[in-house]
Symmetry: C2
Subunit: 367 residues, 2 copies
């Protein structure tokens, strides 16, 4: 079995946005993805590569069974609650799922002799870095000071993982994502959050007429055009970073936290312009007040990712991100997400028939 030659990799949360893209990337690289997901927010339809195990990360026995049944030696851990706003009103759930769930996974990993863990962390661990000017890059050595329970739980997991590594001889890489965006060019998988809070899907939905007009939160930031700057990373590049992190040579007990971003910031207005160019339609919008806690600029210093993972983004141009996202949102969505839109009458809105793709070296899908 050629496909299984590089071994089985447990992908918790592999029915979710980044998890599904990573499962595809793993399969393409000759790994055997074992997707472990409770489908609380992931999609069964997104699990097209490897095998599917229905389970919850807080269930240690289910984890051990999955790891042992499939001979798993490496784990990529995405399963998590992720919506920042919800974390403020339900921190109990975030600490339970994210932190207790990660403890449960770590115990299973240790007990079953898994050698490598790659953890889905977030730039949210930095909070609002002080003393940085717009376009300054965030490096991993910055103080960590999350500003939401979501960020607190990601940082708590990083600290727990590092401690387990040192105590029990595991090795792990935590990837601190900046703004994941785009979709697989195949159109088979893409972003589908409920509620959706990310800029690019919201702008596309507004432009295509099946979402609310966009609100731009703040145009008075100390940035060139007054809108805040973020670092958008194509989900296909992000998936590749996870696969690269499996192969990093680390000593037993080694732990590394690594930013995954491009090192370039796009303003909210530049992103909206790109969406309008791609769709050939205006994006209806209004300007709102700044949201509390939104820093003017969050841009990764990508040098540790380059040095440690040997990874750099290959398809994270803004145009490509927006084009791939628009194709997904126009033509393909999972049943549940589409049903939610149908229920709100959105099916009456016009959709874009086809978004043309350009050359995407390195991301052509075999599917």
């Amino acid at each position: 079995m050629e496909q299984a030659s590089r071994g089985a990799v447990l992908v918790t949360g592999g029915g979710g946005y980044i998890g599904a893209h990573t499962a595809k990337s793993l399969a393409e690289q000759g790994f055997r993805p074992i997707v472990f997901d409770n489908l609380s927010s992931g999609f069964r339809e997104a699990v097209r590569w490897g095998e599917f195990v229905h389970g919850d990360i807080r269930d240690g026995r289910a984890l051990r069974e999955a790891i042992e049944a499939h001979g798993v030696r490496q784990v990529i851990h995405f399963a998590s609650l992720i919506e920042v706003g919800r974390s403020v009103v339900r921190p109990d759930l975030f600490w339970d799922v994210n932190v207790r769930g990660t403890a449960s996974l770590l115990d299973a990993i240790r007990d079953c002799g898994v050698e490598r863990l790659v953890f889905s962390s977030s730039a949210a661990v930095y909070g609002q870095p002080e003393g940085l000017a717009a376009r300054d890059l965030l490096a991993e050595g910055l103080p960590t000071a999350p500003t939401s329970p979501y960020g607190d739980t990601k940082l708590a997991c990083e600290r727990m993982i590092e401690a387990y590594c040192r105590a029990f001889g595991l090795s792990a890489v935590a990837l601190r994502y900046f703004n994941a965006a785009g979709a697989d060019p195949s159109g088979l998988i893409g972003e589908a959050h409920d509620p959706e809070t990310h800029l690019i899907p919201l702008a596309i939905a507004a432009g295509l007429g099946f979402g609310k007009p966009l609100t731009v939160f703040g145009q008075d930031f100390p940035t060139p055009d007054g809108a805040c700057l973020r670092d958008y990373i194509h989900v296909v590049d992000l998936a590749a970073a996870h696969v690269a992190a499996l192969a990093v040579e680390l000593p037993a007990g080694g732990f590394e936290a690594v930013n995954v971003g491009t090192g370039h910031g796009w303003s909210v207005l530049e992103v909206i312009d790109a969406v309008e160019r791609t769709l050939g339609r205006p994006v209806p919008r209004s300007v709102g007040a700044r949201r509390p806690g939104d820093p003017p600029s969050l841009i990764a210093d990508p040098s540790r990712a380059r040095d440690l993972l040997g990874w750099s983004p290959a398809c994270s141009s803004l145009d490509q991100i927006v084009r791939d996202a628009a194709r997904w949102h126009s033509n393909q969505r999972y049943g549940r997400a589409a049903r939610a839109e149908s229920a709100s009458g959105a099916q009456d809105q016009p959709r874009m028939a086809e978004i043309e793709g350009g050359d995407r070296p390195g991301v052509r899908s075999a599917v």
Copy 2:
């Protein structure tokens, strides 16, 4: 019942060092302490004030029953694993007991309508603050960057507690202890850790001849005498800070983290000198290398405690701390701790018959 007039206070870990002193202080102030302890490291003999409930904080049902049976409206939460060295080799236990245990307690507190939580935190949340000179004071606004799994779990608990407060309308005060030391002047309760890692009990045991010679870790710090500086707070003062924190006016959702220290640093050598003066005997010692992670100086800025709690230390002179500790270690120890020493043959060593006390305004015991 005069004693119950100020209400029932659940004291998790009330069989431990600081918890037992706080239960006594609560009783003296007219509260009704309900000590909840699994006796994994606490002592049944230390529970002399109020009622005792044998239970584990990870058992939500036991917590709810204790809270409801006794009409608890306020909780002081000490129960925790505390030994830094053990946290490095068994981080799994620390995350489970300290963090999952605190989550379990918070759920019970929320469900039962408890209004105020006082949490036993630690200066360990600061880690090794950068850019501070010897004798610079640590204020609460410093970045948090723990350097041990123990400190990580204390910080994780603080962040979780703050999030629960905001989400569910509780209010809480986290007290970040500096170096707790001393014992109740009654001689009924005192410090008994296994293993003991704190300077003053180790120096007293060495001086009295029933402990190993003391090792001074590092005499090449950038401090006046080359030994590192720490801020020692008498456990009776520390207990009083907890009682004061129950009464702080906070809005629903309010959370405050407050240093509890004196604002004065004593060097390890000054502490040993005080022990020798008190015992009238030399403390056998050797000089070892610095321990990794030991900062030269850790001294509280006590101003927020003064302003918020209306509290300041009344009996934290070094002489009084050492005198009260020496009295406890010479004359009174709990059965289990004494048995452990007997087993090691320590009962053959001479003990000090009596340590004379001086005037201790505000800490005279009614017992």
